[in-house]
Symmetry: C2
Subunit: 739 residues, 2 copies
Amino acid sequence: MKAATLVGREPWSGPFAALSQPLVPTKTTLLSGTDPAAKRAELRRYFHQTCELYDRLFGLIRDDASYYDRHEPLRHPLIFYFGHPAVFYVNKLIAGRLIPSRIDPRLESMLAVGVDEMSWDDLDAAHYDWPSVRAVREYRAEMRQLVDDFIGSMPLELPIRQDAPAWLILMGIEHERIHLETSSVIIRQMPLAELRHGDELTAEERRLWRTCPDRGVPPANEWLTVPPTAVRLGKPPSDETYGWDNEYGSEEVSLPAFKAARQLVSNAEFLEFVSDGGYRDDSLWTEEGRGWLHYTRAGHPRFWVRCDGGYRQRNLLDEVPLPLDWPVEVNCLEAQAYCAWLARRTGEHVGLPTEAHWQALRGSVAGDQPTWTTAPGNINLEHFASSCPVTAFRHGDFCDVIGNVWQWTRTPIMPLKGFEVHPLYDDFSVPTFDGRHNLIKGGSWISTGNEALASARYAFRRHFFQHAGFRTVIEEPGSVAETMGSRLYETDQLVTQYLEFHYFDAACGGGRPADPLGVPNFPRACVEAVMPRVAGDRRGRCLDIGCSVGRSAFEFARHFAHVDAIDFSARFIQAGVRLQAGDEVHYEIPTEGELTVSRAISLERLGLAAVGERVSFLQGDACNLKAMFGDYDLVFAGNLIDRLYDPGLFLSGIAGRIRPGGLLAITSPYTWLEEYTPKTKWLGGRREGGEPVSTFAGLTRALAGGFALVDRGEIPFVIRETARKFQHSLAELTIWQKT
Amino acid sequence: MKAATLVGREPWSGPFAALSQPLVPTKTTLLSGTDPAAKRAELRRYFHQTCELYDRLFGLIRDDASYYDRHEPLRHPLIFYFGHPAVFYVNKLIAGRLIPSRIDPRLESMLAVGVDEMSWDDLDAAHYDWPSVRAVREYRAEMRQLVDDFIGSMPLELPIRQDAPAWLILMGIEHERIHLETSSVIIRQMPLAELRHGDELTAEERRLWRTCPDRGVPPANEWLTVPPTAVRLGKPPSDETYGWDNEYGSEEVSLPAFKAARQLVSNAEFLEFVSDGGYRDDSLWTEEGRGWLHYTRAGHPRFWVRCDGGYRQRNLLDEVPLPLDWPVEVNCLEAQAYCAWLARRTGEHVGLPTEAHWQALRGSVAGDQPTWTTAPGNINLEHFASSCPVTAFRHGDFCDVIGNVWQWTRTPIMPLKGFEVHPLYDDFSVPTFDGRHNLIKGGSWISTGNEALASARYAFRRHFFQHAGFRTVIEEPGSVAETMGSRLYETDQLVTQYLEFHYFDAACGGGRPADPLGVPNFPRACVEAVMPRVAGDRRGRCLDIGCSVGRSAFEFARHFAHVDAIDFSARFIQAGVRLQAGDEVHYEIPTEGELTVSRAISLERLGLAAVGERVSFLQGDACNLKAMFGDYDLVFAGNLIDRLYDPGLFLSGIAGRIRPGGLLAITSPYTWLEEYTPKTKWLGGRREGGEPVSTFAGLTRALAGGFALVDRGEIPFVIRETARKFQHSLAELTIWQKT
């Protein structure tokens, strides 16, 4: 019998079989401890259990040929996932220079990078010359021996720190546990006939992969009020469990009262949406949702199977009549459409919860994976290998705050304050900070290890399927519980370039040369050049016009009682406002080719946190300022005039905004471009009546009558393009006193 | 009577009337002399004669309304030309800071810039609010008083030098004499009825504007052989006459023997071309010619008038039956089409002469304007105010080497070796160095002052009309008499940027800061960093691959017996070859906005003239080098690898070209761009198997086995964009020894 043959080939009778038992339940290994030898043994066990469990999942596949089918068109075939966690261990140990040589460079390259995050409109049609299943099995066995040896001999200090060899082992293990879950999602999309199931399973397998037997009709759902509360997001550095880089940091969110549904949305509830034509009503879907809907032509949730005019549900290893009281499993776009439908029906502001909303509910679950004896929810493979009724696990007034299925939030993943990229896995989180990956919270029946922790923060593109459903919430109109994190990661390339230009000297991670060309910070240099000209009794009001991301405004705030900071670009001002609010702003800058380095900046590092509040950021047009802006002791126009559509208009208008005796300071590299300023409006750098007119001459002419020149100098500035390429300009500074 | 009223308004009864007589003939004032007072008086007379003559020409216009018609659609109306030479004097005196204030800033701006050089496809549709004719007359009178006062009081030393106030006066006068001629061309396009003519003219006017009475049938034209000769182009700085900047310099051209037609092409000869369908046969016209032809739908020369199935010719103030023995007047495109037609007919290589060809013929005219008592040709307004028969003036074996009509050459105007822009009229010549302005030589009946000198070098767009015709020449096939000048002015923007990058330290005009950022010359710095690693006995053969415009190749030639310098771009190599030939290369670089500064560079200034001949410039592909390139002691790849389509292929191929123990030196800022190199071919700056790989690591891997790293360092370089904006990069230098 074929299945028997397959079982015979499975490695779970191998050299580490004893070490691996029991396979479930497991807990993620604590970083702390007092006995390194015991910790080493614990790590070995956790490692082998993980590998073994992974093999068990893939052992469900009846025939090797199925490894090469693409059951989920947006993902690699299973052969990739079978080998991927194994090569990950080796690749990280090589990257960390912890082992001298590779096992199989070809496999370690081919199986290194997944395409988990593909969109339906960038399908990867590349041809892959996949290895045989046998080769991957052999690789996995070799890897297990190599890592086992490594664990046995690596230096080990407690607690395990992020730069320790043991951290990489945990990274490999937790990475494999992620893929245990995501692979189970793909296997759930395979034809049942290609899987060993039912009687073909061993007793142990039947126990491990048990579908919940309970199904019925759910009790009516209802919304319960959650009082105003402050929640804290983020895992402290001192936490005793392994965490991914994006989970660390700290943020306080003050939540107004909101209502949350007691239960996750059930198949029964979602069936109403389907029956009501929800999949055919474009007006319920976001633009992104419509794109997905039109591409897939979906008419019901992915794991529902149409049958005899009704539906059945596909689980991992069986198909059952639609369990009406189990949670519906959908992607985020479907969840959003359901909320829109329900909002229309009820007249309430129904939506998905934010990350903070979920965290507020999480208060009703006692403890966390390290402390529980039995999981208080359908999680950690402790109860079922499927969903179960939405009322099976209560947490306080709510059900399924953790476990059963993941819960979509409406929060795109962004780093928390204090975020730092882990240097040996710097593309784990950062590529998902793009506003297109939403956080899922709470874990599913197969979430183990780190995934089952309260601090877990995983995110997927909104059209992706996991074992994931959702809970609805209702908020007061206008009371939008924004997650801080979403403001902290700057992805706008131009804003990023200017943040680096203005704040490179505040970038964290010490030891980096501030500016490789040795040019001092420009906004600061400008302020230092201007202030000696400002009398001690003329330091009341300052206008920084064209303030960009705000550095010079903050620097002037060291000296002036009040600084108005105005820019035409709201994007730029927003960055200044974030810094002013005390936020740490994160961004990436290019180093070489596609490689980047991450930056984190804050006013605190510059000693500007205290004076920051003297700055008022405002959007405005330098050539058409509102009447309210006036009475200034100093107007600073930094690198502005050659970017205005009518610099002459600006100059003629600004005089009236300055107190008699006040100053106008202008810096510019005089880079006139018709793209910004029609040539007829250039102050200089052009011919008039056939004769060349310099910008300085044009400025002098424009300001004649109202101003006297009091200083003229040059200040260099540098805009970084890569680690080795810079725009280096010499701005002219002129200071004019109003006569 | 209307005309009488008009005459009554003419200024030639004004305060300077006596000083202005006689109006013709004049000679341009010599710069030399011994008596400043006499020279001052001479300048005053020359100035007033010029103004007076100009007024006489415009005095031919019957009614002020005609000043505002656009008789020539590619030019401003005559009101502009009436005022333009007057405001020019004032604008130049202001620019030279020689007078304290303007007469009329509005007029001095509006009438400052002409549109003489418009093409038919960039017609200027701007609306101009032209001044009244009376206002311009009054302005001219005020200007005459102002300049007269200035001449009377200005410092004056002899000889008059280019930076003297008197030079600006001469510039204004010679400028007005140019416009005397170009305005006469426009007036020739006005309806006769709008001009005072015939009996309406005074006796003096009838003398001044006399049409030649002779016309008949010309004798057959024939080609005469001119033996090989060396001609010298360019006016020496010591010349005693005023010159425009482009006329100065010095070039020797060795002309092989050629044949030149005895006579200018006559109306009779050109009529055959017209009758033969020359204007309807696209195959005779250049691409540019076809564009013009299709735009204008011309069917015959512009000054011919179709009448009763035949042609008449419009002269300045009359229309006569087509004078068959007068020279035809055409633009350069028509002249080229005629040559093509005649070549097809005769089977000879008929073409237009070059500047040098004309200069060779000029040897048969004795003396020049300063020395003649009567003009030896129909020039200087000494004989007629029209053309005359092509055989009326003989010069040796030829007719009309000077005078009658200008003669188109096939030479686009370019500066001569030694060219320097005149700082107070820096847009006189430079904008015409664009390959689209061809030189005309010899002068016409109305060419006076500087225009009548042998050294005069005027150029117009090829579609423009002047009083201009042409002479045909025949050259031996393959013997193309190239004018040096055409090679000396670099207009390719990218080449210009790289010339500045490589040779800024050789730029003439001393006192300019070499590099405002203080960064040393990069190619030279590279050579100086590499040479200490090259053993004294390994200095035979060097390859500079990706040599660009050649500086590092020349610098290596100081140390190596032979340097092969290869680049993919023939444009770049050409610049190196020109410098190697000892040429001075001229170019403009941007400073601010549209303003530029000119550069002149040569190897001589760098002490590289002697070693230059050790360099062989060759076009080639670094990734696919011909087998002949090998056996090198050093291969230098400066800023090359990140611009190759397959840098790995280059590296794997280059090893075989280097002698054992020889060196490979590579510099690069590692600026990888998919535009040049597909990402899969990047040596580094990308992720492989999920892990970041630096370019240095990639280089090391690519060269492993064949090379050992012997040095690694950083060399900065700067590419200038404006006077205040630079691309500043840090190249990494790595030196590898072949093992």
